[in-house]
């Protein structure tokens, strides 16, 4: 039966498309789990500023450059320990060491960078090293940015927050400092960035022989990776990648769990009949009028928001669902079949009859509905996340949508943030639905005539 079904699937283009989508999702899941182990993913997603700090904030995915005329910049990062960095260290006097670093940035984008930061690290005993930062533009103009003592071991210079420089450059209120530094002419109506090589000079002075001075310069772009970043500078690709196995496993476990348990409970009720059947039917009827989503919200608010706890509760609430009634109708017919009587006559036990004689009869009708049920559970998880009841630890598609919504992604024009996870949800739904509907036609041939 199943071999025949597989052969027949190849006759439905929609089924093949659905299968391809599902295989792609599975491939992504496997790739994700192997290349980005769970703990690593959690560290990257929940780690903090040290991990995300060098990413641009709210950056579009990099492939957006294929679709826009004005190419946007990628982030460029340099550190004083990079090989090939121009560095000059020399003792010039008693108690004075020069430690100069020169970073060069090729700038070719048509829009402005987001930010320029210089982070200085130092180890010293009593007198902090001193650094003066300047930038030389492609047109030869040199702008002195700041003079800093690296007190406390770490200093961060952020160009966008440098109001002194803003005043010094006499920029109008609405023009940001970064534009003032990177524009061809910051005073025109629509300033454009000056392309070419920017040279960032850090002229350091150390006052102790064994003190250190290291630095990191980041020229933040406005695009990042293939998925972009969120308001916390996190790489969305982590959440999108990890959302795939989570969504698939959640959907699959919920769908298989509820369907199989519902089927077995229903079969047990039909087989034993009497009070067993009555009890199952009454529980189902009561359960059918219980609203699932409000219960889940209550549990999320008062008890736990763990995805797996939610999964268990969803399965529990769905077992005694409408499926019980549907399967019961089929099982009642199956129970009356002569082969059941024959099985009893040759001594098959109750459980053997339920599992080997009744259940297989229902599997053809069950598989298509099982396949179409998977995405509905994936959507349910996303709905919970959008309602703010998402798992607090796991990165899921629903959580990304929720964070995008909370941070007003659509109002700010950050469409990628909300559309990427939505697209994945949609593709998942379409893939399973197309396969499910085709399977329905294959396993239930009567539908073909409709």
């Amino acid at each position: 039966m199943f071999r025949g079904a597989l052969r027949e699937i190849s006759r439905y283009p929609s089924a093949i498309f659905g299968l391809l989508v599902i295989f792609a999702l599975i491939a992504v899941s496997v790739y994700t789990v192997i290349t980005l182990p769970y703990h690593e993913a959690i560290r990257l997603w929940r780690g903090g500023e040290e991990i995300w700090g060098d990413n641009p904030r709210l950056a579009w995915p990099a492939w957006i450059n294929y679709f826009v005329k004005d190419k946007r910049p990628l982030t460029q990062k340099r550190t004083s320990q990079d090989p090939g960095v121009e560095r000059h260290q020399e003792k010039v006097d008693e108690g004075l060491w020069v430690d100069d670093v020169v970073y060069t940035f090729e700038y070719t984008a048509d829009t402005f960078p987001q930010e320029l930061t210089v982070t200085l690290y130092s180890e010293y005993k009593t007198k902090a090293p001193y650094v003066s930062i300047s930038i030389e533009r492609p047109d030869g103009k040199v702008i002195r940015l700041a003079n800093l003592a690296v007190e406390g071991g770490k200093r961060v210079y952020r160009l966008e927050q440098d109001e002194k420089l803003h005043r010094k450059l006499r920029l109008p209120e609405h023009v940001s400092t970064i534009v003032g530094v990177f524009a061809e002419d910051p005073f025109v109506e629509d300033p454009r960035p000056l392309k070419g090589t920017y040279v960032l000079r850090l002229e350091g002075s150390r006052f102790e022989e064994d003190s250190t001075l290291e630095s990191k310069a980041v020229l933040y772009g406005t695009v990042y990776g293939w998925a972009g970043t969120d308001h916390l500078r996190r790489d969305l690709s982590i959440a999108l990648l990890w959302g795939t196995p989570i969504a698939l496993s959640f959907g699959l476990v919920a769908a298989v769990g509820t369907t199989v348990l519902t089927m077995i409970i229903s079969a047990v009720g039909v087989w034993y009949g009497g009070w067993v059947d009555s009890l199952i039917q009454r529980i189902t009827e009561v359960n059918l009028v219980l609203p699932v989503l409000p219960i889940l919200i209550m549990i999320g608010v008062f008890y736990t928001r763990s995805l797996w706890a939610m999964l268990g509760i969803i399965i529990l609430l769905s077992i005694f669902g409408a499926g019980i009634k549907t399967y019961r109708a089929i099982f009642l017919q199956v129970k009356a079949q002569p082969y059941i009587e024959a099985a009893r006559a040759y001594g098959a036990s109750d459980w053997r009859i339920i599992l080997f004689y009744m259940v297989p009869r229902i599997i053809p009708t069950l598989i298509p509905s099982l396949v179409t049920l998977i995405p509905s559970f994936v959507f349910l998880e996303a709905s919970l996340a959008v309602l703010g009841l998402g798992d607090p630890v796991l990165p899921t598609w629903g959580k990304v949508i929720d964070e995008a919504r909370v941070n007003g992604a659509l109002y700010q024009g950050l469409y990628y943030w909300m559309l990427e996870p939505s697209f994945l949800l949609m593709v998942t739904g379409i893939g399973f639905a197309m396969l499910g509907f085709s399977l329905d036609r294959i396993f239930n041939p009567r539908l073909r005539e409709l």
């Binding site: 039966m1 079949q337 002569p338 082969y339 009587e341 024959a342 099985a343 009893r344 006559a345 040759y346 001594g347 098959a348 053997r352 080997f356 004689y357 297989p360 009869r361 599997i363």
Partner: protein, 354 residues
């Protein structure tokens, strides 16, 4: 042969040749009717005080119209329903007395051939799996041994070569082949008793004879006792040595096959025989006489003889008041009808050939 009131000696453990294979004693299969789900509202007396013996290798036919209780009798004999009262003894052992183990042993001794061959075979199992199931349940652990027995039994029912059928599913076979598989399944544990419930009524006329011949041959090859249940007297002759006619939960006439077919005594049997279709052109415009009315309610059976409301030969004041005992108007021919209180006679409405 058994008489209803007969007492019987406690059977010995080792069956002797004289002992019947199956003894049904005062069997009652009553189904309780419930009111409001728990209150008692009476019983459906599907089988009411039935007794008979079946010898080894003997074939009997139980004949009756739909709803006469023959299926309930059969289910009780198969151990599928528990009788309300009475006993079913197989080789002297009560089949329900030994608990689960006793019933399991008994079931390995009984084969069951059903009416609708397609319905009798699980559509999602291959023929091999279908035939394997009784063996697995019978405790044959070795796969090769099971397969060997399956091949053997497929040859027996003339489905050869077996390899052609092992991996097929029931819907790939013709009705006759399906029924052969059903027979193979019934025979696979080498039973001593075969219960056949209208085994040919759903088959094409062309296949019927072959299946009946096959059953007949298996019966004689293995000295098998057969209970053949049917509503159709025309197929009975192929098969059985004795015929029991059932009406409204009771056996009303028992006789050897030819004796019963040529010398029916109970007015109901006469009506049944008259109703057998006869492919004769002169019959085309003749209306057959069938007993008027419907079979009686089994919840409130009529008093006296249960056939009396439909009987043309009713003796007022007797048939509608007193239940007839068994009379023996002819040797080895028992009939529960007041007409034969005084001895043998030709029943009204029947033309008996000499």
């Amino acid at each position: 042969m058994a008489v209803q009131t007969q007492t019987y000696a406690e059977p010995t453990a080792t069956p002797t040749s004289g002992e019947p294979l199956l003894s049904v004693r005062n069997l009652r299969v009553w189904y309780e009717l419930k009111k409001w789900g728990f209150g008692h509202a009476g019983y459906v007396r599907a089988v009411d005080n039935v007794s008979f013996d079946l010898a080894r290798g003997e074939a009997i036919a139980i004949v009756g119209e739909s709803g006469c209780g023959k299926s309930s009798l059969m289910k009780a004999i198969l151990g599928l329903v528990r009788p309300y009262d009475g006993e079913i003894l197989f080789e002297g052992r009560d089949i329900f007395a030994g608990g689960r183990a006793g019933l399991r042993w008994y079931r390995s001794q009984v084969g069951y051939v059903q009416q609708d061959p397609f319905g009798a075979l699980p559509p999602f199992m291959s023929i091999r799996r279908i035939l394997e199931e009784p063996l697995i349940l019978g405790g044959v652990k070795n796969r090769q041994e099971r397969l060997k027995r399956i091949r053997e039994v497929l040859e027996e029912v003339k489905l050869s070569p077996p390899e052609d059928f092992l991996n097929k599913f029931p819907h790939m076979l013709s009705g006759g082949q399906q029924q052969r598989v059903v027979i193979a399944r019934a025979m696979i544990r080498r039973p001593k008793l075969l219960v056949a419930d209208e085994p040919v009524s759903m088959l094409d006329a062309s296949v019927r004879v072959e299946i009946l011949k096959l059953l007949r041959q298996i019966q004689s090859d293995y000295n098998l006792a057969v209970i053949y249940i049917t509503h159709d007297l025309s197929t009975v002759r192929y098969f059985s040595e004795r015929i029991f006619v059932m009406y409204a939960g009771k056996i009303i006439e028992k006789a050897e096959t030819d004796e019963l077919l040529w010398h029916p005594r109970h007015p109901y049997t006469v009506a049944l025989l008259n109703a057998i279709s006869d492919p004769d052109a002169s019959n085309a415009h003749k209306l057959r006489e069938v007993p008027p009315g419907e079979p009686p309610s089994l919840v409130h059976p009529p008093p006296g003889c249960r056939f009396h409301p439909r009987c043309k030969a009713i003796l007022r004041g007797q048939c509608d008041v007193n239940e007839p005992p068994e009379f023996e108007p002819r040797p080895e021919h028992r009939v529960a009808c007041w007409l034969y209180e005084q001895g043998d006679r030709v029943p009204p409405g029947y033309e008996e050939q000499a």
